[in-house]
Symmetry: C2
């Protein structure tokens, strides 16, 4: 796919991917933009505009080929290949993420779980044993680690991120409540839970 797709469309793709996946699971082969519009609560014209970026949906009136679109969007999102993920911080959140089987179905395979707390050493989360952080360099040397999820306290997040980059890991899924976006040579995706909760309380306050 050579065409440039706008960032606004890109941000909507995971949602299309999810709905198309559900349709596939339900055995639906084709769907019209109107039917997809009803399901997704987005206007049919928005859907047509967005999905026009991918072509290949047959003539007007025939609807979209669900499997084809799902696959095309999956290619764009890079979820049709496997991405090896390690989780740094084996507290509740780290264990929740390491234990989340569904990520594997969209190509993200958790292959390691690290912490500094010796009491957690060897604890199994699914079949993944918690390793100590000082074992990380050796682990990265022998495994193809693409993404590191940081589920550790804010105070250790930056130094850990810098260490990861120096070890060759260039994509960080950051749950620590600190910005790391200024670190060079790394792609950061933030999940700032407190910020999300504040958006919610803003909306509550506005309604009052």
């Amino acid at each position: 796919m050579d065409k440039q797709i706008s960032q606004a469309v890109i941000r909507r793709l995971p949602r299309y991917y999810r709905y198309l996946g559900e349709l596939l699971d339900d055995g639906v082969e084709r769907i019209s933009s109107n039917d997809l519009s009803k399901r997704m609560h987005v206007t049919a014209s928005q859907i047509r505009q967005d999905l026009n970026n991918f072509g290949g949906f047959g003539q007007q009136g025939y609807g979209y080929n669900v499997a084809y679109l799902h696959d095309e969007i999956g290619n764009i999102l890079g979820v049709n290949e496997t991405h090896n993920v390690i989780v740094i911080g084996a507290g509740n959140l780290g264990q929740a993420i390491a234990g989340y089987v569904k990520f594997e179905r969209v190509g993200f395979k958790i292959i390691g779980l690290f912490d500094v707390n010796p009491e957690l050493k060897g604890k199994l989360v699914r079949d993944i044993p918690v390793q100590m952080l000082d074992e990380l360099p050796e682990f990265i040397k022998h495994n193809d680690v693409e993404i590191a999820a940081l589920t550790l306290p804010k105070s250790n997040a930056r130094s850990t991120a810098l260490k990861l980059v120096s070890l060759g890991v260039h994509a960080i899924w950051n749950f620590a409540h600190v910005d790391l976006d200024d670190i060079p040579d790394v792609i950061i995706e933030n999940v700032h839970l407190s910020d999300s909760l504040m958006q919610l309380s803003y909306n509550i306050t506005q309604q009052k």
Copy 2:
């Protein structure tokens, strides 16, 4: 504050709130837009434009009054009042959220934790015992519950959300991988972890 503030500014407020809170913790009383700009990696003119919405930062050259701004933004975000939160789904993710002390510091108090698994009944997360979901109506009757975090499987998310609304809870922090935004009379804030991971893999794929 009567003035209408744009949605784009609103979305940036939690980040300002976080940085201003850190400055307060560091004992900083005033800060110039240039210094704040260096810290936040945002242009000084963006900061001036955004914070102009709040006035009250003294004359040019004197910088912003950190405590005042922090408080004003806190008021807008509604985090200067307490919001009672319950968590539905006491798996790893639910326990991580219920155990997150920091939410309380920004006004969100976790007062209840619910699940359907009888093995979890009475388990303490911090000082919060896991209760069974059938105890929820009684609990809501006797407690002022404002927000429910849904950390349960997708298959139960919609029915639980509808139940919550019927019991008088009108704000949902949704971690289930399903859209609930079409449910009437409820404010939804989504944290879709898989979508976030797909954004990350999109950016990785683009860089390759």
